[in-house]
Symmetry: C2
Subunit: 199 residues, 2 copies
DNA sequence: AAGCTAACTATAACAACGTTACAGAAGTTC
DNA sequence: GAACTTCTGTAACGTTGTTATAGTTAGCTT
């Protein structure tokens, strides 16, 4: 069999892309190296030469997921001039991104794959994705909306509420027939002003 | 080898117990049927006769985890007369329970094991565990602490904040050196009064 | 009370997984 | 043009969940 040089950076990107599609459509149990290899038109060795092992591929998927999340958040925030509206839009964008690929969301936050642990670089990417939220809160503070609490703390609170709400929705713990979007919005609205007052 | 009847209800309980210990100590990757069987002094078939398959065992662990969580919440709430203090105690108890066995928490909320999906019975147990929180909020409402928002909605909000915060802490997204307990408490304090005002 | 039937348990085999060793082909260098 | 290095696909290994098989025990029937 020929051995034409095919394990390039292009294939590396296509592997992560195809793995994400596989994960989205059939879940973590279907994400096997053999299936990924045949779907990508290569052999299982490609994962080993390009990512070391399956964990390396998962780390790349983890980082890609957070980069996509960060981009979505940034786009949502930039679409609104009013800082409070931007904050609400961030909540919606966060939920939408999670719901588009729940299994990827599980990989990013839960332990979707047994032995998986993100390395420091991956975690740094994750925390960078969360930055647009801090910026939006800072804009609110600059506009005099709230005061007395540092932006990082308010942003962390908002992240907790959004993540908690989305997680419960994905796990099926939200009351039936009650759209999660309304919850997220209500909670963001509800918690924000007081946080500022609480200090 | 003798086939003395040993797959009794007692063994069923011991299997879940041992599986929980294995999950807590070494994570989901170490929870294999062979290891569980030898650790429990039986064969892998015990799981199949008693629980159908591995999924059945996981469902039992899921239900047991939520029952334990519900008991811990109830105990925490009952330990305080003041309804607001009971609410704070609930937040701490929730976090403590999650941190004692993070992998079990992942199984309960994330997708710690690839193909796992809880059945309706298991989900009912989960929602029952959440009832002490609703009760505590209702006591606060009865005491005139808040008004204008149904207890279920406030409780759901508190659950979201607590779960979100604990999840972020477990995933390593909380600022270093900042104990999660303080966060949970601050957030519960911060969000509660306003929720009532927001309606 | 003895024998038959049905249920239950352990061993062994099977397909599939992640991973590693092996071997052969393409590209590089003198 | 030949030797060498690098890289890719195939095959094998150990382990997983699961299933088939075979042997043993308990309980009912007569």
């Amino acid at each position: 069999m020929p051995a034409v040089k095919s394990h390039t950076a292009d294939l590396a990107a296509r592997l992560v892309d195809e793995a994400g599609r596989l994960l989205a459509r059939e879940g973590a149990a279907a994400l096997t190296l053999r299936r990924l290899a045949t779907a990508s038109g290569t052999s299982t060795m490609a994962v080993y030469t390009l990512y070391g092992d399956k964990q390396g591929l998962l780390r790349a998927m983890y980082a890609a997921g957070f980069e996509r999340l960060g981009a979505a958040l940034r786009a949502a925030a930039d679409a609104h001039d009013d800082p409070l509206e931007a904050l609400i839009a961030l909540g919606h964008a966060y939920r939408d991104t999670a719901l588009v690929n729940p299994h990827l969301y599980d990989l990013m936050f839960g332990a979707a794959v047994p032995g998986f642990v993100p390395d420091e670089h991956a975690k740094a990417v994750a925390d960078a994705a969360y930055q647009p939220l801090v910026d939006a809160v800072a804009r609110c503070l600059a506009a005099g909306q709230f005061s007395g609490t540092p932006a990082e703390r308010i942003a962390l609170y908002l992240w907790s509420v959004s993540h908690g709400m989305v997680s419960l929705e994905l796990a099926g713990h939200l009351p039936a027939g009650d759209p999660g979007a309304a919850y997220v919005e209500a909670m963001v609205y509800a918690g924000l002003p007081f946080i500022a007052r609480a200090g």
